[in-house]
């Protein structure tokens, strides 16, 4: 009898754990829209660059994980960081730099912590200086200073500068 009870309890605990942890597939993919150009972490940057037009500054550095160069394309209000793989370059980080651009959910630099929570809900991880929201293969991070958003990043979960 005890054994059966233990087994049932174990199965219930397991099911409860599975229900608590959202499957990676079910997670949202947060994307940034610059004008009419949609930019997603993990996307091939080629077509994105063609749509965005000229960038203001550009940096490159030897890639740690892949043969080739990591690159940063800097535009007026945001920057796109890419890594090379198989002859193409893919986005691993998008950084919003000023309040002339906003996330698809309407949050921009200068917003308050509660504005972010109103738009995105409870963060998956929070400290005094940042709020993190997990997405599918990526996460969004809002950097705070004095409770105000000072920088917004869309980051790849595996590739990091």
């Amino acid at each position: 009898m005890k054994k059966w009870l233990c087994a049932v309890l174990c199965i219930l605990t397991l099911l409860a754990c599975m229900a608590c942890a959202p499957a990676e597939e079910a997670k949202k993919t947060y994307k940034f829209k610059a004008g009419s150009t949609e930019i997603a972490v993990g996307a091939d940057v080629g077509p994105i660059l063609s749509e965005l037009g000229a960038y203001t500054r550009f940096y490159e550095s030897p890639s740690c994980y892949f043969t080739g160069m990591d690159k940063i394309y800097i535009y007026d209000s945001f920057e796109i960081h890419t890594y090379p793989d198989g002859g193409k370059n893919y986005v691993y980080l998008i950084v919003l730099l000023d309040d002339t651009v906003a996330t698809a959910e309407g949050v921009r630099i200068g917003a308050s912590k509660s504005d972010v929570e109103k738009a995105y809900g409870e963060p998956d991880k929070a400290t005094n200086t940042s709020l993190i929201y997990s997405g599918k293969g990526m996460y969004m991070e809002f950097f705070l200073e004095g409770g105000v958003v000072v920088e917004i990043q869309y980051q790849h979960t595996k590739v990091r500068g």
Binding site: S61, C64, T67, I72, T127, F143
Partner: protein, 350 residues
Amino acid sequence: MKKTTRICITLLLCLAIVASTVGVLAFVQALVMPKYMSMLTREGALIAEYYNETTTHDVIFVGDCEVYESFTPPTLWEEYGITSYIRGSAQQLTWQSYYLLEETFERESPKVVVFNVLAMKYGEPQNEQYNRMTLDGMKWSKSKLAAIKASMTEEENLLSYVFPLLRFHSRWSELTGEDWKYLFSRDTVSHNGYLMQTAIKPRPEVDREGVRLSDYTLPERSFDYLDKMHALCRENGAELILIKAPTNNWKYWWYDEWDEQICNYAAENGLDYYNFIDNEEIGLDWSTDTYDGGVHLNVYGAEKMTAYFGKILQERYGIKDHRDDVALVRVWSAKLTAYYNEKKELEKKQ
């Protein structure tokens, strides 16, 4: 035929079959293993070259690319008579530095160990490709086994390090002339662990810093291995010196918050820590002394860095000038010749 003779013949036949199978597998394994002989991948050959050394060293460097691109042992010898070796490798993690050092102390007794702290930022295994570049080159020992266990990513397994054929069999279809050429022997790619670069690509005049991080705390695991490295040096009567190479690129940015943690660690543990970033006394010129826009030093920058650090090693740590030792002079003269020959060859190709 007698029964015992038949048994002997059967046994011999079995042995011959087993021996030839092992031989064929060993041959195929040697063939498919990456050779790391091309200019783009040669850092993968660094770790194995150490075992060719015939003399010991007073100074051992451990760490990532910032050690094998910032210091040149031939310059340390030429200017100060200091014997040294760089046991560096691409993205060498703190626990790999520890186990390489442990293995080094089994073979020799350096007076000083120099550890570059950039790798302290990594608290967990990073990438199989870089693991391989460090671990496959190590000779089998308890240190190698421990290094593998500490370094494996989730996708890796110990067996593939014991039998690399299991990992690299798929290279069968990608074999090149290099795999045949270097099947049984390899060229020497380094100068006591220093990987020479003569190209010049200036650092951008308007450079940028690293991206903002949510947490600047250096991982506990890195400090655990730094503790172990310190203890190992103490047990072996060697001085551990912490350094940060002078390079500071946005991709491999050294944050002030990290520097503060290393300064505190050094102070608490009675260690010396030299951060060479922005140290003007070295005399680096970022328009000529880097080959990749400021990420690494080229040979001209590394020679300046080495000349500066050699003086510190000699004056503050009393590292001996061995230029009166005839046997060592003979060995190092050959090394210097190889060093200047490669420098000349590479400069011709620029």
